[in-house]
């Protein structure tokens, strides 16, 4: 066991896996940093410090700094993956799927299917997502729901350094395209990370906390919010079963349904706006498959149906809070 920041869990896993597997190639904007400057390569790493030292260790062929051309970055990842490499392509902000979605959605996600199952496309697309930095409407978004809806992609949302390492290893050793969503507000969070070469399989949710009164489902930054609410509620003797999905596609339906079978009450926390998001998705699965267990309306705690505002007070009001979760839990418990 070692203490490690979430961002360092990304970085150290990349170092280890690139050493282990020659076919891994990293590309993205400023993943080297300093190219074409007096300072030279690695003068300064990417803005998230999740690729520091890779260029020096693995060289220009395997660590490729790119111009600001996200479509070409994602497309190149597709081309690398189709030809036997394992690209790890970085979108500096998940919001930039706006300028590169075609390559992710219409190309990478579909190659194997369209091509009759003859190809594999093991591209890992890392992207920093989420609010909390007052980075406003174009640098703060959650995109997991958009990508979860796209067949052919796997979507991973680690909430702890331990999960980052275990899930990133699984992503890098699998043969399907993976969207790896790193929450900006978690990068500096520290946590214990087991030693050794462990992996965490996809579609294995993590029980963050157990309880028999209400099920709370969350991902990424929202896991901590849910946990905080659960702690608060525990003081009133309310037991929350908090589940961190870890991956949204594939999904650990069993963990969700099993928990709801016990609690009969469900709160889903989603950082995305309310329409067609992951909260509605989970809600629908439960309303179909665990209907008989449900004892109260399914509550969803989400961002509002608005773009993400800049000002401190506004962003704070925008983001789901543990108070919101607490209120939702109390609401579902009050229902008879």
């Amino acid at each position: 066991m070692a203490k490690m920041m979430y961002r360092d869990a990304v970085l150290s896993t990349l170092h280890e896996e690139m050493e282990r597997d020659e076919s891994i190639v990293v590309l993205g904007e400023d993943v080297v940093g300093g190219m074409g400057t007096a300072g030279g390569p690695e003068a300064i790493g990417g803005i998230w410090s999740t690729s520091t030292g890779l260029f020096d260790k693995f060289g220009a062929n395997r660590v490729i700094d790119t111009p600001i051309s996200e479509s070409a970055i994602m497309g190149a990842a597709g081309g690398l993956a189709l030809t036997g490499k394992r690209p790890v392509a970085e979108l500096m902000f998940a919001d930039f799927i706006g300028v590169s979605l075609d390559q992710i959605w219409n190309q990478i996600a579909k190659f194997r299917y369209m091509f009759g199952g003859k190809t594999r496309c093991p591209a890992v697309l890392r992207m920093a997502y989420g609010a909390g930095f007052n980075a406003a409407a174009q640098h703060s978004q959650s995109v997991h729901h958009i990508l979860t809806g796209m067949p052919g992609l796997k979507v991973v949302m680690p909430s702890t350094p331990e999960d980052v390492k275990g899930l990133l290893r699984t992503a890098l050793r699998g043969d399907d395209p993976v969207i790896f969503l790193e929450h900006k507000a978690l990068y500096a969070v520290e946590g214990e990370v087991p030693d050794g070469d462990y992996t965490i399989p996809f579609a294995h949710a993590r029980q963050v906390r157990s309880g028999e009164d209400v099920t709370i489902i969350a991902t990424g930054l929202m896991v901590g919010i849910a946990e905080a609410a659960a702690e608060e509620l525990a003081e009133d003797g309310i037991g929350c079963d908090v589940i961190d999905l870890r991956t949204t596609s594939p999904l650990d339906e069993e963990a969700i349904l099993d928990s709801v079978e016990v609690t009969g009450r469900l709160v889903i926390v989603d950082e995305a706006p309310p329409r067609c998001n992951l909260a509605t998705d989970i809600s629908a699965i439960v309303a179909q498959k665990a209907f008989a267990s449900l004892r109260a309306p399914i509550e969803m705690v989400t961002a509002p149906h608005s773009p993400i505002p800049f000002a401190l007070e506004l962003e704070q009001a925008y983001l789901p809070s543990s108070d919101d979760v607490e209120a939702a839990v109390r609401k579902t418990l009050a229902y008879r």
């Binding site: 190639v25 051309s69 390559q103 009759g116 067949p151």
Partner: protein, 323 residues
């Protein structure tokens, strides 16, 4: 014409196969037997073949919505392709891809593509991969004159230059993107190669209706790129004999335009004139090759008609390797 007799026969044979394939599809589509959108490559055969005759399976190509010619030139199996277009479960892509998504990684064919301009970035990635492998292999992306206006194409060119990827951008300028003329859509420059040049790439130009021009141009281009000089671009002037897709009435064409290009710009006729003029092949030999191609395609159609159909369970297969 500096090719051996054998090479010439093979090139002509391939061009004839593409022509026969497309002409036959033109007829079959009219009868309603084939579903979906089909874009025929007739008229442009010299480009696909003149490029791909230089390649082996380790070189990669990425194609477009008008992809049959590239696929056949790169070595995709005629019958498997026909089965795919027919939607059979024995098709090259098990009937899931169809005309716009034919691919065969085994022969280095990384896919036709329904999204205009999407191929170029993929080819750059393939080229990065080949650069790592270090064996002098190249990735080639075909783009139309319309595709050259898509942002992805520009990004890909710059990215290839910056990363010195062994990528070749082959532009097939057939003067039309759907129903819009090249004269309108490609700015006032009307010059695709110059755009590529502005990214710092070395560029070539050639006559896409003349196999020799394509082949000899590509010899230079490939020498340059295989030597590790980074990417390059080529613009070939060529002609599209049929409509944008099957069903297009083509009333944007000038009077007699189609007759004229069929008469003076047919790559098969031009090849024939050169080969017979230089006394390398005679008309009877060429006729026999052409007929053999037609026969092959006919056999492929018969096979496709008789081939098994996919079933409902096939829909959800191959979405993931494991899920």
């Amino acid at each position: 014409m500096q090719l051996s007799r054998e090479q010439l026969v093979q090139a002509f044979r391939r061009m004839c196969t593409i022509r026969a394939f497309e002409e036959r599809l033109h007829d079959e589509i009219a009868t309603g037997e084939i579903a979906g959108f089909t874009h025929l490559y007739c008229g442009q055969e010299a480009v696909a073949v003149g490029v791909c005759e230089h390649l082996d399976a380790a070189d990669k190509i990425v194609s477009t919505h008008r992809g049959h010619g590239h696929c056949l030139a790169k070595g995709c199996d005629v019958t498997d392709m026909m089965k795919e277009i027919w939607g059979s479960s024995e098709g090259l892509c098990k009937g899931r891809g169809g005309s716009m998504h034919i691919a065969d990684a085994d022969v280095g064919m990384l896919g036709a593509n329904g999204i205009v301009g999407a191929g170029a970035p993929i080819a750059v990635g393939a080229a990065m991969s080949l650069k790592i492998d270090g064996e002098g292999k190249v990735a080639i992306t075909f783009s139309g004159d319309g595709a050259c206006n898509q942002g992805t194409t520009f990004e890909a060119m710059n990215m290839a230059v910056v990363t010195k990827a062994p990528c070749i951008f082959v532009f097939e300028n057939n003067h039309y993107s759907e129903h819009t003329g090249f004269e309108y859509a490609v700015g006032t420059s009307k010059d695709i190669a110059s755009r590529a040049e502005a990214f710092g790439m070395k560029v070539w130009r050639g006559d896409g209706c003349d196999f020799t021009s394509v082949y000899e141009t590509m010899r230079e281009v490939l020498e340059y790129v295989r030597a590790g000089n980074g990417p390059a671009a080529v613009e070939f002037d060529t002609e599209r004999f049929y409509g944008h897709f099957e069903g297009d009435p083509q009333n944007y064409r000038g009077e007699g335009e189609l007759d004229r290009i069929r008469e003076t710009r047919d790559c098969l006729k031009i090849f024939r004139a050169q080969a017979t003029g230089a006394k390398l092949l005679d008309d009877a030999e060429l006729d026999a090759i052409q007929q053999a191609a037609i026969d092959d395609v006919d056999a492929a159609v018969q096979a496709a008609r008789a081939a098994p159909r996919p079933t409902a369970d096939d829909v959800t297969k191959d979405v993931y390797i494991e899920y």
